[in-house]
């Protein structure tokens, strides 16, 4: 259990040390994030891929209110914990070509956020989950609002109020469950064991679902997202899209499905329809985007829509697909935003039509960018393929028409992504891109790491599937069993 506490609180210690590190904050935070990654890998190696919860910690916290510091890791948690601790060092390294003012605060906030995210991904106590949920939001708000771009104050206020509105209703749902819990605590197992009738489950479903839907975001709760992604500093965008939206997906899997299966049974179809509308809608808007960063933001909505549809389809393939795709999407989207950041740092624009011909002057960037784009459009052999294939299979098992429409995401995605790539990288160089310099130093390190991950996971996804399989299986059985007792 010490390992888990260390895993969660090492970033917090790192944040405090970094806050006082002054000019060397960049290095200090890098060291802490890499050590955290190492620790996560050690835990992953010691993790036995079965359905049990491991490295469990259960300490009394606010005993009078039934709140415990109860955390643990199962296969599903392990995956997102790995994702978090993998992406944070990548995100920090990707900032090496920037000089942010007040770097100590910047890097401290990133590590603080990591701590909140890890709490969310390991919490087995609903109150702790909520605390982590908010603790991750505050730092990202400050990151985006202090170091962001044009109109950042208004945009981030919208983002903040949107997300916190969702989470407050979730808190209401949590309190409701707590009050129905005969043992009067927030323990997840006790929540799983609750016997609520259909109507109650319906209400709880919406209280939780809106919070998660805003975070992911699912249509029509997505309106904060493109602006926020565009106005945020690149590292903020990466944190939001790479890790933070997984909080919503993880929340659905960990809390929504097992606690209110009847609610999901009644309303899951609405969720799937919204997800599919989101896929089509976001893809169509992505077509028309002139700014590459906004295009990626919309493509992200489309991808998340597919993940969400796969989860609510509620079968083994859909779930497993969602697992793999969470990891792949995290890696790919961070890669995409990094490439756009590199371009922006060189030519000060992300407008697609102003760019072109970069491949001629920067072949290494062009190659890595291509691999990332192919991963995003789910070419076989890349990590995106496994996830999307499984997801579509899951949705297909749910309904053919749903799968047919959801499948458009792959076609649409390929079209707008490749067209973006073509316009930005290929063609003739213009006056803006003629002086473009190729990637170097940490940029190389980050991009090659991402590309390696894309290919390795694409060719050999078995470790990931193996890691989560037992837990997913267990989850499905648990929920189906509960559904049968309710009916």
């Amino acid at each position: 259990m010490e390992q888990l506490l260390l895993l969660i609180f090492l970033p917090l210690v790192g944040a405090i040390v970094t806050a006082f590190a002054g000019k060397s904050a960049k290095i200090v935070s890098t060291i802490f994030s890499v050590v955290s990654l190492g620790l996560a890998l050690v835990i992953a190696c010691n993790f036995i891929p079965n359905a049990s919860t491991q490295f469990e910690v259960n300490l009394p916290w606010i005993a009078d209110l039934g709140i415990n510091f109860h955390a643990g890791i199962d296969g599903i948690s392990m995956l997102v914990v790995l994702l978090t601790n993998l992406l944070v060092p990548i995100i920090i390294l990707s900032s090496y070509n920037h000089e942010y003012r007040n770097p100590a605060a910047f890097y401290a906030l990133i590590l603080f956020m990591q701590c909140g995210l890890l709490l969310v991904f390991t919490a087995l106590d609903a109150f702790l989950f909520y605390i982590g949920w908010e603790a991750a939001l505050i730092p990202i708000y400050f990151i985006c609002a202090i170091w962001g771009g044009k109109d950042r104050i208004r945009i981030n206020m919208k983002f903040f109020v949107y997300t916190i509105a969702g989470s407050l209703f979730m808190l209401m749902g949590i309190i409701y469950l707590y009050l129905h819990n005969p043992v009067q605590n927030f323990d997840i197992q006790a929540f799983y064991a609750l016997n609520l009738d259909g109507a109650q489950q319906g209400w709880i479903f919406w209280a939780f679902f809106i919070a998660f839907a805003i975070k992911m975001p699912i249509f029509p709760f997505h309106t904060w997202q493109p602006d926020t992604y565009t106005a945020a500093p690149t590292q903020g965008t990466m944190l939001l899209s790479g890790i933070m939206l997984k909080m919503g997906i993880y929340g659905v899997i960990r809390w929504l499905l097992p606690i209110v299966p009847a609610g999901v049974h009644d309303w899951g179809q609405v969720a799937i329809i919204l997800s599919i509308i989101g896929i089509v809608y976001a893809s169509l808007i992505a077509f028309t985007q002139k700014d590459a960063k906004r295009l990626v933001a919309y493509s992200s909505i489309a991808h998340v829509g597919l993940i969400s549809a796969g989860i609510f389809a509620f079968n083994q393939q859909g779930m497993q697909g969602a697992m793999v795709q969470m990891l792949s999407h995290g890696i790919n989207v961070v890669g995409l935003f990094f490439v756009l950041d590199i371009i922006f740092s060189r030519v000060k624009t992300n407008k697609i039509e102003e760019l072109g011909g970069i491949a001629k002057v920067a072949p290494q960037l062009a190659l890595t960018f291509l691999i990332i784009v192919l991963g995003t459009v789910a070419l076989p052999g890349t990590n995106g393929f496994i996830g999307e294939f499984l997801l579509l299979m899951g949705v297909y098992n749910y309904g053919i028409w749903a799968a047919a429409i959801a499948g458009l995401t792959i076609i649409f995605g390929a079209v707008y992504m490749l067209r973006m790539y073509q316009n930005v990288m290929l063609g003739e160089t213009n006056s803006l891109t003629i002086t473009f310099t190729d990637i170097k130093g940490t940029e190389k390190l980050v991009l090659y790491t991402i590309c390696a991950l894309i290919i390795v996971l694409g060719v050999y996804p078995k470790p990931i599937l193996h890691l989560t399989e037992a837990s997913v299986q267990h989850l499905l059985e648990q929920v189906n069993q509960k559904l049968n007792t309710v009916n």
């Binding site: 605390i131 505050i138 609002a145 206020m157 109020v161 916190i164 309190i175 009050l179």
Partner: protein
């Protein structure tokens, strides 16, 4: 008893010290006096002594006395150079604040409604003078007059209510009133208007809508430090008095008075939050936000549980310490910039990162963000009313809390994201001590509230 005696004696000593122009000795004397009183509070813990049938120092009374004394102590530490600039007779301030505190101790520990009235008047009269203590300032005079008129009015309501209840029960004693409600077959018809009138009178005192009209003007017009005192310590004492009566003696009649209370709560939340949103002035915003907090505090009376009293304690503590930070920073900013609009906070984070950080924590706490005391307070209030599944009320409160984020974050936005004048604030040591102590309490209560949850 010892607590009131100590505070009163300190008040007299300070007054005489003022006569002999021993201005430097005032603060040390007061601090020693208050620490002694605090010591007596700890000694009396779990004693549950009844004093002459008039006051009862149960843990409820002691816990609220403790908060009031600590709050006053912190405010006194902020007086450094504050009153000196405004008046020669600074002993007046010290004495009056101490007398007000003595009145509040009676308000939180009364067992007999006569004591409630006496305590309330001792406090109010001191405050009328304090609000108008800048004799030549127009706003201060206006504040004082408004406060006095409204206060006299509300005292009238309260007194009338007490009379009617006395008429029905033949007693001022809380226990006897409760026994009357529990035992008698029929309750006298004049009892009910008595309850309503007392509720109106106390709502005036705590500034709950629709009896809140005096608060913004009085808070704005009074000297900032007095406003701090009024909106934190005084408010806490007012709620304790409210709670002692309604959650104690009048609890058997809960079904009757919960409906008007519900109206008051909803109006208070809505008016407080929505009007706070449109303020351009930080001090006025805090005044309106204090109205909305009164709304959340009243949640504890909507559903009476065994934790209601403790919930108010936690919320009041969270609110008091966060507000003290907010006002302390406001005073510093106003001294330097000459204005208390939001714009004068622009760029504060660059000039004084520590002060900005403290104020940020205070705003997060007032807004109710996790890991601060304010969140625990709000959480307990929501939990309290959710025990009877008043989900609509909670949903309404959540919508109001969202509005709250907007105006609390406006200060944060100004401090961190906007550029402003380059002049650095000069914070005296005492200010830093107060700020850091309050921030520490806010965070400790937010992260490990278990220490305060079972006090009462």
């Amino acid at each position: 008893m010892n607590i009131i005696i100590t505070i009163s004696i300190t008040a007299f000593i300070v007054l005489y010290a003022g006569l002999f122009k021993a201005n430097k000795a005032l603060l040390p004397l007061t601090v020693v006096g208050l620490l002694t009183a605090l010591g007596f509070t700890f000694c009396a813990w779990n004693g549950n002594a009844v004093h002459f049938g008039m006051m009862q120092t149960d843990n409820f009374a002691l816990a609220f006395s403790g908060i009031c004394i600590i709050g006053t102590l912190l405010i006194f530490l902020l007086t450094q150079n504050y009153f000196h600039a405004k008046s020669d007779n600074i002993a007046e301030y010290f004495t009056l604040i101490l007398f007000a505190l003595a009145g509040m101790i009676m308000m939180v520990s009364y067992k007999n409604m006569a004591m409630l009235f006496v305590g309330l008047e001792i406090m109010s009269v001191s405050l009328y003078i304090l609000a108008g203590i800048r004799k030549k300032d127009f706003a201060s005079n206006e504040a004082s007059l408004k406060y006095f008129l409204m206060g006299a009015f509300s005292t009238g309501f309260l007194l009338f209510g007490i009379t009617l209840i006395y008429g029905a029960t033949g007693s001022f004693d809380l226990d006897k009133i409760q026994a009357y409600l529990v035992n008698s077959q029929t309750i006298s018809p004049i009892f009910y208007p008595g309850v309503i009138l007392m509720m109106i009178g106390l709502s005036f005192k705590v500034g709950a809508a629709p009896f809140h009209f005096w608060t913004p003007d009085v808070y704005e017009g009074a000297p900032s430090l007095i406003t701090t005192f009024m909106s934190t310590v005084v408010k806490t004492a007012g709620f304790a008095a409210f709670l002692r009566l309604f959650a104690g003696a009048l609890a058997p009649l809960h079904d009757f008075w919960v409906a008007p209370l519900m109206v008051i709560v909803c109006l208070t939340l809505f008016i407080g939050n929505v009007t706070a949103l449109f303020q351009r002035n930080f001090k006025r915003m805090l005044a309106y936000s204090s109205i909305s907090h009164a709304g959340y505090l009243l949640f504890s009376l909507i559903v009476l549980t065994k934790n209601s009293e403790n919930n108010v304690l936690v919320y009041a503590a969270a609110y008091t310490f966060a507000s003290i930070i907010a006002f302390a920073v406001l005073i510093l900013v106003k001294q330097k910039m000459g204005s208390d609009s939001f714009e004068s906070f622009n760029g504060l984070a660059k000039r004084n990162p520590l002060i900005a950080l403290c104020l940020t924590v205070a705003m997060l706490s007032l807004a109710g963000i996790p890991l601060t005391a304010g969140f625990i307070g709000k959480y307990l209030m929501f939990l309290n009313v959710m025990t009877e599944y008043k989900t609509l009320l909670v949903a309404f409160a959540i919508l109001n809390a969202l509005v709250g984020f907007y105006y609390y974050f406006r200060v944060i936005v100004a401090m961190w994201f906007k550029d402003g004048a380059e002049t650095e604030l000069s914070a005296p040591v005492q200010y830093k001590v107060v700020l850091l102590v309050s921030v520490a309490i806010t965070l400790i209560l937010g992260i490990y509230p278990a220490i305060i949850l079972n006090l009462i």
